[in-house]
């Protein structure tokens, strides 16, 4: 049986399909009569259907919902009550009330105008909206709270764009970790947690405009939930706080200045000593975004380090305690290696993470970005606008690297690519550049210019331009290398016979849309010209 069939069988057996009815029933609101909004609507709709009437639900006239059969939605105000989820409307409890309130707000009645918020309707920052403040004070009974003053707790992962996260602050107290979170906003430093020294009562509140929509429409609370604690499962979550959205806010105790200095001095002294630095690094093998640290014990020319310095570049970020540090290692001959690391707390101890950056230079040597292939045999320099593309291989001894300057501008440099259609781990790469070029030219899926002689890094090679909608080659076990969002693209390919024993062919591909090709070739030229090969 095929693997795909086995997977579907397994999943469908363990988790049978969810019906529309089952899903909607999750929004049933308990009430004394035991009936629900959903089934009341169903019954009402059935009556309408029987009468031959056709209604469109959700109009602004409010005539579809029969208020005599619809229970009043309830809101659970006390955070300590179970279940910690409230649904229904607040402060109005149904559409009819909202429309009546809308009329009074339109007439300028201050008892209702506070529910109008043009900024919220325009998609502005929600935290200061009066609808949230009133709900938190009147219904949740919180005296002090904060929101929006910290990263990562609002976003697409929060369960919907309208859900806004608030934390409760103990009145009259300050955050016991304020002295450690020197970079945190004053609002956070002044907000003491209410559960224990680290944990905050956290609530997610959703609002909407059920009646009139737009700058004049009334806002009501439609749902709120007390968020539960759930520890980060991975380093990725610690480093990407958006992934933590929807959980109770728990602040992490960051390292003190003394602890931070001890960690960094141990790590950097080991690099000077030439051994033992790995023990200070945190790494998740399954996460492609983590990388091995290049130039761990020496510069690209092999010079060992003689001394070091470090500085705190940013943080600690609240509430994850993540600190960004910049380190410099000075080698004999004056070469300076500069790198960025995160310091995070994982499983109760502090460690360094390298590689979790998208758009910053992580390692430079004398100010140039350092890029290594084959353990440093191949080096080349990149500078903005080029940055390493996400998905680079995690090992500096890897076979290829990707860079991008925009959505449709890529440079890929690597060794021993496989011809199109043979991208698996079992296929042997072409033995030389000419064989690879011939296989590409023989492929009817590509339009090519033929080859021209070229010199790259002091070695003779081949240059060819091609166009197509598929990959002309891929690197071993790594599949397609190009911009997935392009349906057709143009590529300038440079191929040379690799002068050492570590590989057979070195390939450089400059990829772009067909319309932008000549410009991108020029932008990529400094990378190609910086290439150096030091093959044993």
């Amino acid at each position: 049986m095929r693997l795909d069939t086995r997977l579907l069988d397994y999943i469908d057996e363990m988790a049978p399909p969810v019906t529309t009815e089952e899903a909607i029933a999750r929004r049933q609101v308990p009430n004394p009569s035991g009936r629900s909004l959903v089934w009341a609507l169903i019954a009402f709709a059935a009556v309408l259907t029987a009468a031959g009437l056709v209604f469109a639900l959700g109009g602004s006239d409010g005539q579809v919902v029969d208020q005599t059969t619809v229970p009043t939605p309830t809101t659970v105000p006390a955070p300590s009550r179970e279940p910690p989820v409230g649904s229904g409307m607040w402060p109005q409890s149904n559409l009819e009330e909202v429309e009546e309130a809308q009329g009074r707000a339109d007439a300028g009645d201050p008892d209702y105008t506070w529910q109008v918020d043009a900024n919220l309707a325009a998609g502005g920052d929600p935290w200061g909206a009066e609808i949230f403040a009133q709900f938190i004070e009147d219904e949740l009974g919180w005296e002090a709270w904060e929101a929006g003053a910290f990263d990562g707790w609002l976003g697409a992962d929060a369960g919907g764009s309208e859900e806004v996260i608030f934390i409760r602050c103990a009145p009259g107290q300050t955050n016991p970790l304020a002295s450690l979170y020197t970079d945190a906003p004053p609002e956070v430093r002044g907000c003491a947690p209410t559960i224990d020294d680290l944990s905050y009562e956290t609530v997610g509140i959703s609002v909407s405009q059920p009646g009139l929509q737009g700058p004049s429409g009334l806002w009501v609370v439609t749902r709120w939930e007390t968020l539960q604690p759930n520890s980060p499962e991975s380093l990725s979550e610690l480093l990407t706080p958006d992934l933590l959205a929807g959980r109770q806010v728990v602040q992490v105790v960051p390292p003190s200045d003394t602890e931070l200095a001890a960690l960094l001095e141990g790590f950097l002294q080991a690099r000077v000593d030439g051994a033992g630095a790995e023990q200070y690094l945190l790494y998740e093998p399954e996460e492609w975004i983590f990388e091995d640290v290049p130039l761990l014990y020496a510069t690209t020319s092999g010079a060992s380090f003689e001394r070091f310095e470090f500085e705190r570049a940013q943080g600690p970020r609240w509430p994850t305690g993540r600190i960004l540090v910049r380190v410099r290692l000075f080698a004999a001959g004056g070469t300076v290696v500069e790198q960025l690391f995160h310091v995070v707390s994982s499983d109760g101890h502090f460690g360094l993470v390298y590689g979790y950056f998208d758009d910053v230079l992580q390692s430079t040597e004398d100010g140039q970005s350092v890029n290594l292939i084959l353990g440093g045999e191949v080096t080349f320099a990149t500078a903005p606008p080029w940055r390493r593309a996400l998905g680079n291989p995690s090992d500096a001894s890897g076979s290829h690297m990707r860079f991008q300057a925009g959505r449709e501008e890529f440079v890929v440099i690597g060794t021993d690519p496989l011809p199109a259609g043979t991208a698996d781990c079992e296929t042997s790469a072409p033995a030389d550049a000419e064989t690879l070029a011939d296989s590409i030219m023989a492929n009817p899926d590509f339009g090519t210019t033929g080859t021209l002689p070229v010199r790259i890094a002091g070695f003779d090679g081949l240059q060819m331009d091609l166009e197509g909608s598929d990959s002309p080659f891929s690197f071993s076990c790594s599949g397609w290398f190009g911009p997935d969002q392009l349906t057709r693209w143009a590529t300038r390919l440079y191929l040379i016979d690799y002068p050492g024993e570590s590989a057979q062919v070195l390939a450089i591909a400059v990829i772009s849309s067909e319309a932008d090709f000549e410009r991108v070739i020029e932008v990529a030229r400094p990378i190609v010209e910086s290439l150096e090969i030091d093959a044993p």
């Binding site: 049986m1 095929r2 693997l3 795909d4 069939t5 086995r6 997977l7 579907l8 069988d9 397994y10 999943i11 469908d12 057996e13 363990m14 988790a15 049978p16 399909p17 969810v18 019906t19 529309t20 009815e21 899903a23 909607i24 999750r26 929004r27 959903v38 089934w39 609507l41 169903i42 709709a45 259907t49 209604f55 469109a56 639900l57 959700g58 697409a156 992962d157 929060a158 369960g159 919907g160 439609t222 539960q228 759930n230 499962e233 992934l243 959205a245 929807g246 959980r247 399954e286 996460e287 492609w288 593309a389 996400l390 998905g391 990707r402 790594s478 599949g479 397609w480 997935d484 969002q485």
Partner: protein
């Protein structure tokens, strides 16, 4: 008592058809990520959210992807359960590969999702990336590593 099927007039035009089309992808993706129990519950929760916000959701560019993120957010709030992927019952379901539960447990969350969506659901890597909110290159990496580990765990070495 058998509850009647919910008529279209109640759930909104197109919602029933939307659920019919999206539910398998959504459920299998969430089950792959968070296990059978939480994944299925997350699917129901996401669809319920979809019903609540149908008028806006149906106009969005990627409603399935949006609901996936709703379900994912919901699932992440749940306490972790020990058995994400129970062993199938060979007596009741003899056609189900008995080693799949342990094999899936051995994959990372993203590897499981990539394998299921691409190889079981037939989505392209670009579609999978859109649904999971990842970059296509990321999906590709997770897919390759996940497949490799799955094949090793199941003792298959071909394209089956």
């Amino acid at each position: 008592m058998v509850k009647p099927a919910i008529p279209e007039v109640v759930v909104g035009p197109g919602f029933v058809a939307f659920v019919r089309d999206v539910e398998p992808k959504l459920r299998r993706a969430l089950v792959a990520g968070f296990g059978a129990d939480i994944g299925r519950e997350a699917t129901a929760e996401a669809l319920a959210y979809g019903w609540e916000h149908w008028e806006r959701l149906r106009l969005s560019e990627n409603p399935a992807g949006y609901l996936y993120r709703v379900g994912q957010s919901w699932a992440r709030r749940r306490p972790l359960r020990r058995v994400l992927f129970p062993d199938p019952s060979p007596a009741n379901e003899p056609w189900v590969e008995p080693g799949l539960g342990p094999a899936l447990r051995a994959l990372s969350l993203r590897q499981r999702q990539a394998v299921v969506l691409v190889h079981a659901m037939g989505l392209s890597q670009a579609e999978t990336a859109t649904m999971l909110g990842l970059k296509p290159t990321s999906v590709q990496n997770h897919l390759q590593r996940g497949l490799s580990r799955l094949r090793i765990a199941l003792g298959v070495n071909d394209e089956t």
